[in-house]
């Protein structure tokens, strides 16, 4: 799960129609004109800090979590959203997407293949027992066990051992900078061994409880209804103790989330469907903020063969009207984007990454005539081509992207059609699906705020792209993972981005920033994509003292 996680949009259900009607029915006469809405949306890593303690919050999300055991493959992004507040990790992700010490008060590379964590003293689990190095050791071993969701983060790890009363050492077969970032995610969660083992099969289910040290503790999971967290009484990091006494998570469709926020029944929600944001940015009852995230919608090119020639992929990449897609499918809340991973990945050396991004050629926001001419030339060079097929599932975003693809193809002299695949079967990772179409559109995000964390997917062993197969790229990935120095790693990441862009196994379309809607009475939560792993709810509080 850690390396990246796929989120499936399910807006293509029968309820999509109902959603449109709600939008029409609830408009208080205010027309959702583009610019006034965009003006209302605040940008930044975080919403303004809270001043006072909030007694109760109701937080909405699109689905019920499937498990509250993060090592279980069933755990989904809702599990992350909740447990980010319940479970501390060895390192802690910050709203600006940098890392700070967490349950490890420090960490150091003793040599290129030895990483030493010094475990913080005086921390207790929610059941009152003290945190020990043995718990850390047991937790890391649990994460790296075969079949555990996080095991892929531990590919280079050869062993974990306790090397002192408060010291845990990880040994690697080759140095691995990405591992340190993963430790701030689900791969670095510290669990109480006794707490987990005493629960047996109940752990992670509605019948179980948590076994962590975070600013909130699990009070109750009523299956099919709600999940409630309460403020942990003796949180080790006093200044970061929760500003909310109790937070209850509920779930519902986009309309339910919008209506609940509008009527004040909900305190807030991280929105997955950006078009909901336009209804919440105006009206005064709610505020909407956006921050950087890694999520990007791309056209994933399959191995069916229609786009086997890289010149065709490049020609299409030049001709897609990204600005049009951003406007039509994301109400202007997404940005035309040139890389398959968003700016939230720039957790270090931000300026370098920004400059390299700006310099990437051949991916215009809105194609000019010169782009189209260059694309046409590439297509003519290739000569005879077979008709292309792009799949949609009828959901608004995929429909818009599919239409943009067909439009671009026709402009440069390629034949393209759209085929519909039901949402339930719309799976780019299913070989049978890939055999039937040339292009599938999907959004993708990575858990680490490091471009290397995404671009490792270009390796020939990757299961998420099917065209790039280049030993030089593979070597660069392994070099990137091993580069412990940030500046050196940034250089390699930029090199990887260039190579990816030259091979274009996915065509990037629109960046989908992290978006949070809040009742206008509260503030404090991060707006950036850190909410999957950082204790965001602890910062939620009232505006006035």
């Amino acid at each position: 799960m850690s390396a990246s996680s796929l989120k499936r949009f399910t807006t293509g259900t029968a309820l999509a129609a109902a959603g449109l009607l709600v939008a029409a029915g609830c408009g208080d006469g205010s027309s959702p004109a583009q610019s006034p809405v965009l003006d209302q949306i605040k940008l930044g890593n975080s919403t303004p800090a809270a001043a006072g303690q909030l007694d109760k919050a109701i937080w909405f999300m699109p689905k019920e979590p499937r498990s509250l055991d993060l090592d279980n493959d069933a755990a989904n992004s809702q599990s992350d959203l909740i447990l980010a507040n319940v479970c501390d990790r060895l390192l802690q992700l910050q709203p600006d997407l940098t890392l700070k010490p967490g349950l490890a008060e420090k960490y150091a590379w003793k040599d290129a293949t030895t990483l030493v964590f010094t475990i913080r003293q005086g921390v207790t689990f929610h059941d009152g027992t003290p945190l020990t190095a043995d718990d850390v050791l047991w937790s890391l071993d649990r994460h790296r066990a075969d079949g555990a969701a996080e095991s892929d983060e531990y590919v280079n790890v050869t062993g974990v051992s306790k090397t002192g009363p408060n010291e845990v050492t990880v040994k690697f077969k080759q140095s691995d900078a990405v591992f340190v970032e993963a430790i701030a995610g689900d791969a670095g969660v510290v669990l109480s061994r006794k707490g987990v083992e005493s629960q047996g099969k109940k752990y992670g289910t509605p019948a179980g409880t948590d076994a962590c040290t975070g600013p909130f503790q699990l009070k109750e999971w009523q299956s099919g209804k709600s999940i409630t967290l309460t403020k942990a009484p003796n949180y080790w990091n006093k200044p970061k103790a929760a500003k909310t006494d109790e937070i209850t998570f509920k779930w519902g469709s986009d309309d339910v989330i919008v209506n609940s926020l509008k009527t004040g029944e909900a305190t807030g929600s991280y929105l997955e469907n950006l078009s909901s944001a336009t209804q919440l940015a105006t009206g005064g009852a709610t505020t909407v903020s956006q921050g950087p995230d890694t999520r990007v919608w791309s056209m994933m090119i399959t191995d069916r063969g229609g786009l086997k020639d890289v010149r065709l992929r490049k020609a299409l990449a030049m001709s897609i009207d990204r600005a049009g897609v951003a406007k039509a499918a994301f109400s202007g809340l997404g940005q035309p984007w040139k890389e398959p991973v968003g700016s939230g990945a720039w957790g270090y050396e931000k300026d370098k990454f920004k400059a390299a991004y700006d310099a990437l050629p051949g991916l215009p926001a809105k194609p000019e005539q010169s782009d189209l001419d260059a694309a046409k030339k590439l297509v003519q060079e290739v000569g005879e081509t077979q008709p292309l097929i792009i799949a949609s599932d009828g959901s608004p975003v995929r429909n818009v992207i599919a239409n943009a693809f067909v439009d671009a193809a026709q402009k440069i002299g390629l034949k393209a059609t759209i085929t519909q695949i039901p949402t339930a079967q719309y799976d780019p990772y299913d070989e049978a699906v890939r055999k039937s179409v040339d292009v599938l559109s999907d959004d993708y995000f990575v858990s680490k705020n490091d471009p290397v964390g995404f671009y490792k997917n270009g390796a020939s062993t990757s299961t998420v792209q099917w065209l790039l197969n280049d030993p030089a790229y593979d070597a660069l990935v392994s070099k990137g993972r091993g580069a412990l120095d940030d500046a050196a790693r940034a250089g390699i990441a930029i090199e990887l981005a260039k190579k990816w862009s030259e091979a274009m196994p996915w065509i990037p379309v629109v960046d989908s920033p992290s978006t949070v809607a809040l009742s206008s009475k509260v503030t404090g939560v991060p707006a950036s994509g850190c909410y999957r792993y950082a204790p965001w709810a602890a910062d939620l509080g009232t505006k006035g003292a």
């Binding site: 996680s5 709600v22 069933a74 079949g147 339910v256 998420v464």
Partner: protein, 314 residues
């Protein structure tokens, strides 16, 4: 004897439907493995093979059915692929929501539907009759999700009389929260029931025994209650039973719009994620619920009309 035959038929129905349901899920396109593994970056061939073996997905169809059916006979519905919880737990927390919604809706459409039908029949040909017929015709023509959306935007968002989502706490809370969804679900049914009631009552009114009762000088109220309405109850009960049975399986859309975590939303999610054990259990529940309602209707018949009992005994 009749009861035994009946029971045998029900068991046979269950067995056949369980097989059809299982076969249907097996034949459905798509692969549950994608959902069982979750992270596409973990989808190595070894992992896929391991997961297939763990969930018996690598066995032949009949063997899989056999495992499922024998577990079922031991009262074990299995565990959800997606939630990793026993299916009985998942259903246990969601059934009350759906059942209370259907019960509430049932009360609404039966009481209001029959009442409107009676009034309409007694005032046949008047403006009241025309009004009721017109309104109910209009009501049947609106799909229930549109009704639901309008109800939410008017009564929950604008007027704030009702809650936007959730099933509510306690009996009164439940009634309060479920009022809008129950109305949305019942509206179409009210129209059908009032039409059936009106039609059968109008037919009954012109029958000889009613004329005779009237000619004896029996009070009009008593004539209506004892002769017209009572004899019309057969078709009305049949119709209400059918609608109710359909509702037990048809709450999906209303549950979704009102953010209720009931059986309907669970079924849709389970289908979308190829969660076989959950889909199978819910479809079986629907078959059982349908059978239960029809049996109930059959048991009510003799109470309404002694001739039914006499016929079945002879």
């Amino acid at each position: 004897m009749v009861a035994l035959r009946r029971l045998g038929a029900m068991v046979l129905t269950l067995v056949i439907s369980s097989f059809v349901i299982f076969a249907g899920m097996y034949a459905a396109p798509g692969d549950p493995v994608a959902f069982l593994i979750g992270n596409p970056e973990n989808m190595t061939p070894e992992r896929i093979a391991a997961v297939r073996a763990e969930y018996h997905l690598d066995l032949p169809f009949l063997h899989q059915y056999w495992i499922w059916a024998t577990d079922l006979l031991h009262g074990d519905f299995g565990s959800s692929f997606v939630y990793q919880q026993p299916v009985t737990d998942l259903l246990g927390s969601r059934l009350p929501v759906t059942l209370s919604l259907v019960a509430y809706s049932g009360v609404l459409f039966i009481v209001i539907g029959v009442l409107l039908g009676v009034v309409s029949a007694l005032r046949k040909g008047t403006a009241v009759d025309a009004f009721i017929t017109g309104i109910t015709t209009f009501a049947t023509s609106i799909p229930n999700f549109v009704v639901a959306v309008v109800l939410i935007s008017v009564f929950a968002v604008k007027l704030r009389w009702f809650s936007v989502s959730g099933p509510g706490e306690g009996f009164l809370g439940r009634i309060h929260h479920l009022t809008l969804p129950a109305v949305a679900l019942a509206l179409g049914a009210i129209a059908v029931v009032s039409r059936v009631t009106r039609q059968t009552m109008v037919e009954q009114q012109s029958l000889d025994h009613v004329e005779a009762a009237r000619s004896y000088g029996l009070q009009s109220r008593k004539t209506v209650l004892r002769h017209v309405l009572r004899n019309s109850l057969g078709p009305i009960v049949t119709m209400c039973g059918l609608i109710l049975a359909g509702m037990l399986a048809g709450t999906v859309v209303v549950e979704g719009v009102f953010g209720l975590n009931g059986i309907g939303s669970l079924l849709v999610e389970a289908i979308n994620t190829h969660d076989f054990p959950v889909v199978q259990a819910i479809l079986l529940y629907m078959v059982v619920a349908y059978m239960a309602v029809t049996v109930l209707v059959d048991l009510i018949y003799p109470l309404l009309d002694a001739r039914v009992l006499a016929r079945s005994v002879s």
